[in-house]
């Protein structure tokens, strides 16, 4: 079952913060986050494992609430290069990723 992402789209000014949420109705083993720029392949950002901690990548970090089966991606002090579509992918143990519908992020100067 496809995880639900929110919001579907967000527009920011450079330097502003954003939060993207991902929720699933199924018990999860891990949550992945990817960013895809227009016309390019998705690029892996980070993975959060069940029982894992909050992780960070430059000014992008994420959390995973196992009880609620929810993950959030935090983008702080956004840069123009952060623009793209963000996908969460949820994994049940031993299985492949099921991706959400994506969140389109546009950062303006």
């Amino acid at each position: 079952q496809q995880p639900v992402q929110s919001p579907q789209a967000v527009i920011l000014r450079e330097g502003e913060d954003a939060v993207i949420n991902c929720s699933s109705s199924k018990a999860l083993y891990s949550v992945h986050w990817y960013r895809q720029k227009h016309g390019e392949a998705p690029v892996f950002l980070m993975i959060l494992l069940k029982g894992g901690e909050q992780k960070g990548h430059e000014k992008i970090s994420a959390s995973f609430n196992e009880k609620k089966q929810q993950s959030s991606l935090y983008l702080t002090a956004s840069q123009l290069s952060y623009s793209g579509t963000y996908f969460c992918g949820t994994e049940r143990a031993g299985n492949m990723l099921t991706f959400g519908g994506g969140t389109r992020l546009m950062v303006k100067p």
């Binding site: 998705p42 494992l49 996908f87 031993g94 990723l97 991706f99 519908g101």
Partner: protein
């Protein structure tokens, strides 16, 4: 190679023809995945290969779709009797060991257009 390689990068075919898409994963990656992405949409799972285990074909949309993988190397996705709704970007990804928390590396995809 350094990344996941897919060929062709673009393919235009006539409705009813068969097409074969190729994916060359990163050497040593045991897991290989095929996804489909329609314009402006998310990634739709098609099939998953893990080592020598039987592939997970649960995402294949019809029996016109099939895929093979030779050992832990090249994979081919075949679409028979193509239809216009098959038009999409077909993405291949590989992973070192998904059970240990490794992410996926995606190829640049094959853009398939059925006319």
């Amino acid at each position: 190679g350094a990344g996941v390689s897919q060929s062709p990068s673009n393919k235009v075919t006539e409705k009813g023809k068969d097409v074969e898409l190729r994916c060359d994963p990163i050497s040593g990656h045991t897991a290989l995945y095929w996804y489909r992405q329609r314009l402006g949409q998310g990634l739709e799972f098609l099939i998953y290969f893990q080592g020598n285990s039987a592939p997970d074909k649960s995402g294949l949309p019809s029996d016109r779709f099939s895929a093979e993988r030779t050992g832990e190397s090249v994979s081919t996705l075949t679409i028979q009797r193509t239809q216009q709704e098959d038009s999409a970007v077909y993405l291949c990804a590989s992973s070192l060991d998904p059970g240990l928390g490794y992410g996926y590396t995606f190829g640049s995809g094959t853009r398939l257009t059925v006319v």
